[in-house]
């Protein structure tokens, strides 16, 4: 019943969204106030209905209603209550519902706080929100219904992945989505402004706090995700440049650029088209991330059940939302008249410089993320773009921006004095030089130390420069103490917000530099009573308690005593858990932090001889990374409390136009192609996505690795026979006949599925060779006795070495080798009758 109520609420919400999308928009076009005003109650109704659905799903999870498919697949009765609740968004369907819930929440807030907005602008913006909600609700109802029933209900559910059974799941996704979806506000207002053909300071003053709030949430969400991966995965790292991480980093970069360019619109009434463009891009990148993660066009360690059918829907949604807004942009942006002019050396100029590099960085992450997909579509060599690429490009792109960051705030609007600004940064320059010299002196000049010196130098420059700027504004060293305090109080909160955010970034930079350059690790087998050394610490293993019970897991917990120069530092208790449902391991890291560095202990598997594998890491300055992110968020929040931006009190002075249908008549024919370029580029991108999706749905998923050995001679090998007494099987045995080589194993489930096909193949006169991969001989012979032995020869590759020489990455794999011993065809995965009869046999006939 509850599930049906939830589903019904979602369907109603869909209709409300349709009304919210259409009526206010028409009202704004026709100047009908009552039509426009419908947007507000519609937003409220939308929120109420989606909340009801969301609450219903939470209820179903909390009560473990296993007749609901979503609960059965992702929950289990033995799960602690916290994870029953957070597990709601630990899966695709639930997370989409969370997404829509947050969207409705933003809509409600805009309706509540937007009383003083120009009614037409508000009506149009809420209408665009309605369109987005409609799209996502339709997506949920058509492809991802969280309320689908299961009949008969199973005895119990599959459980939640242990890595997600962590308090991090309670906070990380909601904040991330508050960020992603928050950008929809800026987007909706951008589209509304394009329809109206007007962007002014009042618009910017309204959009900026929403963008800033979204930015804060996204920053926090990303930082929490990073921290979560740091303390749960036991790898000692905090960022892996996985597509999913990139999907959150791209909107963050675009959103950061937007927060800055909106300042220029507000203060100087210029850079309007660019700001509108960024608002479109920031939200589009959020949507793009959703598409990439859930469609299966890219591979990612962050696993959603990938589904091309869902991919098609999200792609359509992305095309409509982004394509539509970019076309609108191409048509209307040329008509946005710019206001004040400014010299390149000015505050505006500095912010523009910041925008160029932030956008280039976002573009680079996009390029790196999508390049493997382009390569797949264009049938280039399959390639991987990973950490080494980004670790090279990001410093190159962001260093110029960081260098200029302290300078920008010292320049005045319109026309700045660069010399004066640099003069005021003398102190910062000295601090920077001292930092670099001290780092190199203390650490040495190896290449990783040079990088660290550069990073710390940049951080010092930013930190000291930001403090100098503040000191200059309050007149530190120039005025009496009372005067300074008075001036400090008079400074607007937004100024403090900026300083804090920049200081936070400097602290993050310190954390990044330290952890990249000076992380140290030891990996060893330890027995109770033994002591290991790392970075000046003595880590003593007291013992390991096995078979301890947690609420829904069994755990081995070790006790380590860490000391330094004989002084006790900390007792550390890393665990190695095996969960009941699903029965998967998870290691719980023990971290001791002294604020400057983390001592990080991971308990590995038992070696069966009384020892345990232990991974010790020393991570210098990593705490600063997370602390710095918090300071950045704090800066954003402080800025939000600035009187001018306070949400809900946009200035009364905001012009309220009495005529609603504006601009549309005034729009000129576009002046330049530059405004149409994004729409065209996006069209090409969509083309790539469509092509790739269609290939993926045919089974050419991104994890299929094409063999590089086609057309090359088979590798050298000499394998023993599976059945003793038979001769070895060697490369030379392939000569003179067409051979099919099949790698199989008794433990491999799909091998059983394809096995009957070999009987047909054996009849066709092709020599059939089975290579038994990493198997026990008795298991393999039993398997062949049970399933039948179609092979002419069965060799055993016990070590899997020959398989590696063949480029095998999973069993079963099947090769066709011609008379001269050249590999002509490879099939990774189980054979099907179609492949055998349409591809393998015809080719074999030709080669005979």
């Amino acid at each position: 019943m509850i599930a049906e109520i939830g589903l019904f609420a979602l369907i109603l919400a869909l209709f409300v969204a349709a009304v919210q999308a259409v009526v206010p928009l028409l009202g704004a076009a026709r100047g009908e106030t009552s039509w426009m005003n419908l947007a507000r109650p519609a937003s409220a109704a939308q929120f109420a209905l989606v909340s009801l659905a969301f609450a219903a799903l939470i209820w179903l999870h909390v009560t473990s209603d296993l007749s609901v498919l979503n609960v059965a697949l992702n929950s289990h009765t033995d799960k602690p209550l916290l994870y029953k609740i957070t597990g709601v968004w630990g899966n695709h369907e639930g997370s989409m519902l969370l997404w829509v819930f947050i969207l409705a929440l933003y809509g409600l807030m805009a309706a509540l706080f937007g009383k003083t907005l120009p009614p037409a602008l508000r009506a149009r913006a809420l209408s665009v929100q309605g369109m987005i909600a409609f799209g996502f609700l339709l997506f949920i109802l058509m492809t991802s219904n969280p309320f689908a029933r299961l009949d008969p209900a199973p005895v119990n559910g599959n459980g939640l992945n242990p890595l997600l059974q962590d308090p991090g799941l309670a906070f990380h996704p909601p904040f991330l989505y508050l960020g992603y979806v928050g950008f929809s506000m800026a987007f909706s207002f951008a589209v509304a402004a394009l329809i109206e053909g007007r962007v002014d300071a009042a618009w910017a003053r309204w959009v900026r706090p929403w963008t800033l709030a979204a930015w804060c949430a996204l920053t926090l969400g990303i930082a929490m995700g990073s921290w979560w991966s740091y303390y749960t995965l036991g790898w000692g790292g905090w960022w892996a440049w996985d597509p999913v991480e990139n999907a959150s980093f791209m909107p963050w970069l675009a959103g950061t650029a937007l927060v800055h360019s909106a300042i220029v619109v507000e203060k100087r009434d210029t850079l309007k088209a660019w700001t509108i463009f960024l608002a479109i891009v920031a939200f589009s990148l959020s949507l793009l991330g959703t598409f990439l993660v859930r469609s299966g066009v890219l591979t990612s360690v962050h696993a959603f059940a990938n589904d091309p059918a869902r991919g098609v829907f999200i792609l359509a949604l992305l095309s409509v939302v982004t394509g539509g807004s970019l076309i609108l942009f191409a048509m209307r942006a040329p008509a946005l008249r710019a206001g004040g002019i400014f010299s390149p050396v000015s505050r505006e100029g500095g912010l523009m410089f910041n925008n160029v590099f932030l956008s280039a960085a976002a573009g680079t992450v996009l390029l790196g993320t999508l390049y493997p997909l382009f390569a797949d579509v264009l049938h280039l060599n399959k390639l991987s773009v990973a950490a080494p690429y980004y670790n090279l490009m990001m410093p190159l792109l962001l260093t110029p921006m960081l260098l200029l960051m302290p300078v920008g705030p010292l320049l005045s609007w319109k026309r700045g004095d660069l010399k004066d600004a640099l003069r005021r940064l003398r102190f910062a320059a000295v601090v920077t030089a001292v930092t670099v010299a001290a780092t190199l002196f203390a650490a040495g000049t190896a290449s990783h130390n040079l990088m660290a010196a550069l990073g710390l130098g940049l951080a010092a420059w930013l930190l000291a420069g930001t403090i100098s700027e503040w000191a200059g504004r309050v007149g530190l060293l120039r005025h009496s103490r009372d005067e300074i305090l008075h001036r400090a109080r008079q400074l607007p909160r937004s100024a403090y917000g900026m300083s804090l955010a920049h200081i936070g970034l400097a602290v993050v930079l310190i954390g990044i530099s330290g952890s990249l350059a000076w992380q140290s690790e030891t990996l060893l087998v330890m027995r109770p009573g033994q002591t290991a050394q790392i970075a000046g610490y003595d880590v003593h293993l007291v013992g390991v308690d096995d078979n301890l019970r947690g609420p829904n897991y069994t755990t081995s917990r070790a006790l380590f005593l860490a000391s330094r120069n004989g002084d006790f530092v900390a007792a550390m208790r890393p665990e190695r858990r095996v969960y009941d449902n699903p029965p998967e391991p998870k290691s719980t890291v023990a971290i001791h932090t002294n604020f400057f560095s983390d001592l990080y202990v991971v308990l590995g598997e038992a070696d069966g001889k009384g020892g345990h594998v232990v991974h010790l890491l020393h991570n210098p300055l990593v705490p600063w990374l997370f602390l710095g992110a918090l300071v950045m968020v704090l800066g954003g929040l402080v800025s939000l409390t600035d009187r001018r931006y306070r949400v809900g009190t946009p200035r009364r002075a905001a012009r309220i136009p009495d005529e609603a249908p504006a601009a549309s008549q005034k729009v000129k024919i576009p002046a330049g192609v530059q405004y149409a370029a994004p729409a065209l580029a996006f069209l090409v991108l969509i083309g790539f996505f469509v092509w790739r999706l269609q290939e993926v749905s045919k089974g050419d998923t991104p994890d299929v690795v094409p063999s590089v050995l086609i057309g090359k001679p088979a590798p050298q090998f000499d394998l023993p026979p599976l059945y003793s007494g038979k001769p070895d099987f060697k490369t030379a045995d392939l000569r003179g006949k067409v051979t099919v080589v099949n790698f199989f194993a008794s433990w491999c489930v799909p091998c059983r599925a394809e096995h009957p096909l070999f009987r047909d193949l054996a009849k066709s006169g092709i020599v059939l060779v089975g290579i038994n991969y990493k198997d026990k001989p008795e298991n393999a012979t039993a398997f062949l006795a049970e399933q039948g032995d179609p092979y002419h020869t069965v060799a055993a590759d016990r070590q899997g070495r020959t398989a590696i020489d063949f480029g095998v990455y999973g069993v079963p794999e099947t090769f066709l080798i011609d008379k001269s011993g050249v590999i002509r065809f490879k099939w990774p995965g189980p054979l099907t009758p179609e492949i055998v009869h349409d591809q393998l046999l015809p080719l074999a006939e030709k080669l005979k």
């Binding site: 696993a303 573009g363 190159l396 799909p750 990493k774 999973g810 189980p830």
Partner: protein, 209 residues
């Protein structure tokens, strides 16, 4: 033609602990090879759920598990018994391992992955190093079998020029946009003051106390 999605096939990742060093063929032991042991704890589970039968080869690095986030297997990949005694050689092996992709676990290096294939490749890397191969030769050895896909740092060739020069291109595009922005706006926005206005301005300035 229909291909079976790869996720429905058990990968190299899924064997029960099959082959221990004790089973290894005599005479092929080397320092590195002694460690060829499939990681324990792996199991082939299949979930049967109310009529639906799903094959969960969980070792496909959770590709089939629905989850929002970070579903890496706990990364404690390199095992002590794989490590070489020579710390310099081991350090080289680690840095090579960080640059090679584990083929079955998405976007993890063989150094980070506890998949058995990653283990085999780590052992292979160490064996090549013991034979005196250079770092590049070791990487080429793997590339010759699995293609450039295994390189986490893509090669620099005509197919990847766009990737490597793209960032520069983006900055240049940004710079050109800014330049055009200024050029279009360089046109004087307001007419200069007329003689009459100049005279008035001067008199106002002079009048000021």
């Amino acid at each position: 033609m229909k291909r079976i999605p790869l996720s429905s096939r058990a990968s190299v990742l899924s064997p029960e602990p099959a082959e221990g060093p004790k089973d290894a063929r005599p005479g092929t032991h080397s320092e590195a090879e002694a460690a060829v042991e499939v990681g324990p704890g792996s199991r082939r589970a299949f979930a049967r759920l109310a009529g639906m039968t799903q094959w969960f080869s969980k070792q496909r690095c959770a590709l089939m598990l629905a989850a929002v986030l970070l579903v890496l297997t706990p990364a404690l990949a390199v095992q002590p018994d794989e490590m070489l005694r020579d710390p310099k050689l081991e350090a080289r092996a680690r840095s090579i391992g960080k640059e090679l992709r584990c083929l079955v676990c998405q976007n993890q290096s063989i150094d980070d992955s506890d998949a058995p294939l990653a283990h085999d490749l780590r052992v292979l890397v160490r064996r090549r190093l013991l034979k005196g191969d250079s770092d590049d030769a070791v990487k080429q050895y793997i590339v010759a079998r699995y293609g450039t896909y295994v390189l986490l740092k893509p090669p620099f060739d005509p197919e990847t020029y766009l990737l490597w020069f793209g960032p520069l291109l983006l900055v240049l595009t940004g710079g050109a946009t800014v330049y055009l922005f200024y050029r279009r706006r360089a046109a004087p926005e307001t007419a200069p003051l007329s003689d009459e206005e100049l005279r008035r301005l001067k008199s106002l300035m002079d009048d000021a106390p």
